[in-house]
């Protein structure tokens, strides 16, 4: 802005050096302040805590890629992983670079980052100019003033803190989205593996009912059994084919779930999954202090803490504004009609008579209380979830072990003994094939138990990584069959 000066005798206008220095310093400090407080983290710097948190919590690397699969390096990485058999970890790596829903979550961080930028700058100074042309007489008068809202200087840290807290909330949410995606991809991959295994078992069942039908047909051709017996075996065979069809659909849908999570389509969907779920590990994953770990690492609780900080910061800003709604300093100058300039400081002060930011303060306090209560509620939920997933994984492991170590060996033993009885001709080949099908059914039950174990394991890892497993959500429990009611 132009500052009028007293022109020195040499023609160049001069001002008193003290006044000049004061004015100059004032503007300089304002400019510097704007630079100082307007220091906004870069996109990568804003994302870096997310990256390190994800690595620490999950062991996986995550990237915020604007180009996604259009990035040749990303494309090459995806191709290399799809060329191999899909395991749970490999699927997670693909999802972390290729799931555009996750990338969209990261853009929320960018949005918050923009808010930080906005909250980190002073409001613009204002220049006010007036020209008054006398209607009578001569000599125009000019009023020239410049104002800077100095209140920003005091409110800006609070605003920035609130914006940074909100950024951290978004960072927490984004980190949580990664952890959730990791767990979901693992569960989806396990489901695809289990369904593939179950499909093989159902094929074995069809082979068994088919062999039984073949024998029945030959007995019928020889005139040794009735039409009824043949019809019964035809029914058994065809019902097993129905089960096979269902198993095939399950494989297709579980594959598509994986495709959706991994962001795959077209030729990329022709991957093959590791056909068998991994055996139970020697030791159960540590769950002794899972409740404590869950609370310590909870991203949700972290987010709620940031929410409380943001709310507190906003209260601070509102409280400042309540007492000092407006405070501006500047320079006012006037050229009188005589041509003489007068210049001097200007101050603007808002008087808190009517609007003392009652609404904003009340809102801030309510938001703070809300955040506090959500924090407490979240804490209860986090603890309950940790206990629930602990119980779930223990039961799943015990059930899988029981099926593997007790039931399956007994089923095999029944089959072996039935073969001996068949050899002794004291039992029929139909009972032999039925014993085989019972073994297959127990095998299917074991596959499901392994799936339950590994998804529970993914749930535990999810809890350790800071998110809830969802184990407290009650699934629909099957009603007892008619045969269980009243007995026969």
């Amino acid at each position: 802005m132009y500052v009028a000066t007293n022109r020195p005798s040499h023609g160049r206008p001069t001002i008193s050096s003290r006044a000049y220095r004061r004015t100059r310093n004032l503007w300089l400090s304002l400019a510097l302040s704007s630079f100082a407080v307007g220091c906004v983290p870069s996109q990568q710097a804003a994302f870096s805590p997310i990256k390190s948190q994800v690595a620490q919590r999950t062991g996986f690397e995550v990237k915020w890629s604007h180009r996604g699969a259009d990035d040749p390096r990303v494309r090459a990485a995806i191709d290399a992983m799809l060329a191999e058999t899909l395991t749970a970890d490999r699927a997670v790596k693909i999802a972390l670079v290729n799931n555009q829903g996750l990338q969209a979550e990261f853009e929320s961080v960018g949005i918050s980052l923009a808010d930080v930028a906005s909250a980190s700058v002073l409001s613009n100074p204002e220049i006010d100019a007036e020209l008054r042309i006398p209607l009578t007489g001569s000599g125009n008068s000019v009023d020239l003033s410049g104002m800077q809202n100095v209140l920003d200087l005091f409110a800006l840290p609070g605003r920035r803190n609130a914006a940074m807290a909100a950024l951290n909330v978004e960072r927490a949410r984004a980190t949580g989205a990664v952890v959730d995606l990791v767990a979901e991809v693992r569960a989806a991959t396990y489901r695809a593996q289990a369904d593939q295994q179950l499909l093989e078992l159902r094929r074995t069942t069809v082979d068994s009912t088919g062999a039984s039908l073949e024998l029945t047909k030959r007995l019928h051709e020889a005139g040794n059994i009735t039409d009824l017996a043949l019809a019964q075996d035809l029914l058994l065979f065809n019902e097993s084919k129905l089960d096979l069809a269902r198993a095939e659909v399950h494989v297709a849908t579980s594959r598509e779930h994986v495709n959706a999570l991994l962001g795959l389509s077209g030729a990329d969907t022709n991957w093959s999954v590791e056909t068998r779920l991994a055996d139970l590990p020697e030791m159960l994953v540590a769950t002794g202090n899972l409740e404590g770990e869950a609370v310590d690492s909870s991203i949700n609780l972290q987010g709620e803490r940031w929410q409380m900080k943001a709310a507190a910061a906003r209260i601070g800003v509102a409280q400042l504004q309540a007492w000092l709604p407006r405070f501006g300093v500047g320079v006012a100058s006037e050229r009188e009609s005589s041509g003489d300039w007068a210049v001097g400081p200007a101050v603007t002060l808002g008087i808190p008579i009517f609007d003392r930011k009652q609404g904003a303060r009340a809102r801030g306090h309510a938001e703070l209380r809300q955040a506090q209560k959500r924090y407490i509620a979240e804490g209860v939920h986090v603890r309950a979830d940790a206990r629930a997933i602990t119980a779930t994984i223990k039961e799943a492991r015990a059930r899988a072990l029981y099926l593997r170590n007790t039931i399956l060996p007994l089923r095999q033993r029944v089959l072996n003994e039935t073969l001996k009885h068949y050899n002794a001709m004291s039992t029929s080949p139909f009972e032999l094939l039925e014993a085989k099908r019972s073994l297959v059914d127990s095998g299917a039950e074991y596959v499901e138990s392994l799936y339950d174990y590994w998804t529970a394991n993914a749930g535990v890892l999810r809890v350790k990584a800071g998110r809830m497993s969802g184990a407290t959500m009650q699934e629909d429990r099957p009603m007892p069959s008619d045969g269980d009611e009243g007995g026969e």
Binding site: N224, I225, H421, N423, A424
Partner: protein
């Protein structure tokens, strides 16, 4: 005119009521003579009836005890034993001990059964007509028991029917039975407490009473005793199921199933008696002897008069009966003797198997074998040879077990034995398979002979 018969000793002449005097006199004379005759006949028939249908007075004085090989030729119980005795003050004293034991029906099948003196079905009591016997029965079972002497005349209180004629013998206790024998023949003894269970578990045996005054044709050269019975032992199990009413899958002679039955070894020309008893739970057994036509000489301990003896090749043994058959073993060879119910000469034949006769297996072995390794389709041509295939069967089972015969695998089992008649014997031990004289064995017909005889195939 009513027919005279053994039961009707009130016979009276019938005829025209209008008679002439001559006729009357004739009738009178005839009547007088007839009356004398009739009176004599009535006395004779009364005596014969009494002796035939009564055990006589129970107050009979005991006679001296008989000793084997001195007073009688002992019987042979194949796979069994004769209960030893001692003479105490002129009384023949036996000690029968009922207990639980492991019993081998045939090699490969052993079960927990109940029996007497360490044998199941095969402890024969031998006594002598007229002697007094005293039988101590010790109960080493965990259940009470008693012993009924099947077919024997004795005081009612010695009849052995638990809760009716005596109290049951508690576990661990010894009861005493004693009476004087006043008959001879083939009888049996068995538990009469919870008979379904205890007979079914094996508490049965033969009781032979030799005659004090045998008839001239009583003497035989070989006198065998065979107790018939049946069992249901599930394949792989080791205890009989005494609840079974049908589906008996182990049939025995003296508690053994063929090929576990000892042969009846006889020298050519010897006179043979076989005494059968049947205490099976539910089934009668028609026992058929190959190569001979025998006579049934006694039923339930009573001799059949010679003129009434029934010639048979098969004697039907109803449950609860004894029958003596006799023949002269004049044809050498291995003559099989077996129950003619076809299911009774197979060991542990399963009835849950489908009827596979005539089924063409096709690729069944491959289809089912892929699912159950070791599977093989069976039964398309019948049951023969199943046991010799060497397939793994449940432990302690003998499904369709037979034995190797001189001309191949012999799949028979169960209620089956062989009467081995030999011209020369150094002992009565099993002489092995019969060596047929040349030209006496059925074999493939020579083409030239078929042509000669106009046989076109």
């Amino acid at each position: 005119m009513r027919e005279a018969n053994n039961h009707d000793y009130n016979f009276e002449p019938d005829g025209d009521k209008t008679m002439r005097r001559r006729d009357l006199i004739k009738v009178g004379a005839a009547a007088a003579g007839g009356a004398v005759l009739i009176a004599g006949a009535k006395n004779a028939e009364a005596k014969r009836w009494n002796s035939s249908y009564s055990g006589g007075s129970p107050k009979v004085k005991a006679k001296s005890p008989g000793l084997p090989n001195k007073h009688y030729r002992p019987v042979i119980t194949p796979n069994g034993q004769t209960l030893p005795f001692k003479i105490v003050d002129g009384v023949k004293v036996f000690h029968l001990i009922a207990g639980e034991m492991q019993h081998e029906f045939v090699e490969g099948l052993t079960a927990t059964c109940w029996g007497y003196n360490g044998k199941v079905n095969a402890t024969t009591i031998e006594a002598y007509e007229g002697e007094r016997i005293r039988i101590y029965v010790t109960n080493k079972l965990e259940a009470p028991t008693s012993v009924h002497w099947h077919g024997l005349y004795l005081p009612n209180g010695m009849d052995g029917v638990s809760a009716v004629t005596q109290a049951p013998i508690p576990p661990g206790k010894t009861f005493k039975y004693e009476w004087t024998l006043r008959q001879s023949g083939t009888y049996m003894y068995h538990s009469h407490y919870d008979t379904m269970t205890q007979e079914g578990m094996g508490l049965i045996g033969m009781f032979i009473v030799h005659p004090r005054k045998p008839s001239a044709d009583h003497k035989v050269d070989r006198d065998f005793v065979i107790m018939l019975s049946e069992w249901q032992i599930d394949v792989g199990a080791s205890r009989p199921n005494t609840l079974a009413m049908s589906g008996f899958n182990i049939l025995t002679m003296n508690g053994r199933a063929y090929p576990g039955t000892a042969p009846l070894v006889v020298k050519t020309g010897e006179r043979v008696r076989i005494r059968f008893g049947n205490l099976s739970a539910m089934d009668h057994h028609p026992i058929h002897l190959h190569g001979y036509n025998f006579k049934i000489t006694a039923t339930d301990g009573e001799k059949i008069p010679d003129s009434a003896q029934w010639p048979e090749t098969t004697v039907l043994m109803a449950v609860g009966q004894t029958r003596d058959i006799e023949f002269v073993a004049d044809a050498p060879g291995d003559w099989i003797m077996h129950c003619h119910m076809t299911h009774h000469i197979m060991n542990q034949m399963g009835h849950e198997f489908p009827n596979m006769v005539g089924v063409k297996p096709g690729d069944l072995n491959q289809k089912i074998g892929k699912l159950v390794p070791g599977y093989m389709t069976m039964g398309q041509t019948g049951m023969a040879g199943m046991a010799q295939m060497g397939m793994t069967v449940p432990d302690n089972s003998v499904p369709m077990k037979g034995t190797k015969g001189p001309f191949g695998y012999h799949g028979a089992g169960g209620m089956f034995t062989i009467v081995k008649v030999r011209d020369k014997l150094s002992s009565y031990d099993d002489p092995g398979w019969y060596k047929h004289p040349p030209g006496t064995v059925a074999s493939e017909a020579p083409a030239a002979e078929m042509l000669r005889d106009g046989i076109n195939v």
